[in-house]
């Protein structure tokens, strides 16, 4: 158990509304990640963070922004949700000596209607 929680676990929202998903960790790991999971694509990296206020884009970052003001929290924001952003969102952290093993939170199912 890597001590990762995600909130909310489920959310239904309307097109055009802003949405923020929260990832919280309890063990002060430096690296945190946001992925989305869609059928036929596995998981794809949206953004990641390598420290407080240090973030970078992943493979599918368009339409998403992130913030990390505290080590334990990594927020993912959809500024104006679209139906194509309906997905399951996973947060992950890196552990291990060389920070390459990733452990995942329980996921958030987001539906944009």
């Amino acid at each position: 158990d890597a001590g990762i929680t995600q909130s909310p676990r489920h959310k239904v929202t309307e097109t055009g509304t802003p949405v923020t998903l929260r990832c919280h960790q309890t063990e002060n790991h430096r690296y945190m990640y946001w992925y989305r999971q869609d059928p036929g694509h596995g998981l794809r990296l949206i953004h990641y963070s390598y420290g407080v206020k240090d973030t970078d884009k992943g493979e599918v970052s368009d339409g998403y922004s992130v913030s990390r003001s505290k080590t334990e929290d990594f927020l993912l924001t959809l500024e104006s949700a679209t139906s194509s952003q309906t997905s399951v969102y996973f947060c992950a952290i890196s552990v291990g000596r060389f920070s390459y093993e990733q452990y995942f939170g329980p996921g958030t199912r987001l539906t944009v209607t």
Partner: protein, 114 residues
């Protein structure tokens, strides 16, 4: 960009038998990491096994083992003595060191039948 291919969308195996899931990847790198993740119906992503490319010895974790063929860019997962609890989606993943961009395959849905 690195790509990961899992050519078997679905597989099934009888309880107590052995099954092998295939994964191939494309990279020009010499050093990298490979992973298998399991996702049961609970949706939780669980790390099953990892392999460092510089290690020739295949990784094993209890009933799970890999066949890592670096020249062929192949990384298959063997599950021995399959159990009902092994029913899940299995994802192969690739990562370069110090890159933080883990690339996943599309997954293989494994069903273990009693």
């Amino acid at each position: 960009a690195q790509t990961v291919t899992q050519s078997q969308p679905e597989m099934s195996v009888q309880e107590a038998e052995t099954v092998t899931l295939s994964c191939t990847y494309d990279t020009s790198e010499n050093n990298y990491y490979l992973f298998w993740y399991k996702q049961p119906p609970s949706r939780q992503m669980i790390l099953v096994i990892r392999q460092e490319a510089y290690k020739q010895q295949n990784a094993t974790e209890n009933r799970f083992s890999v066949n890592f063929q670096k020249a062929a860019k192949s990384f298959s997962l063997k599950i021995s003595d399959s159990q009902l609890g092994d029913t899940a989606m299995y994802f192969c993943a690739f990562m370069k060191p110090h890159n933080n961009d883990m690339r996943f395959g599309a997954g293989t849905r494994l069903t273990v039948k009693p």
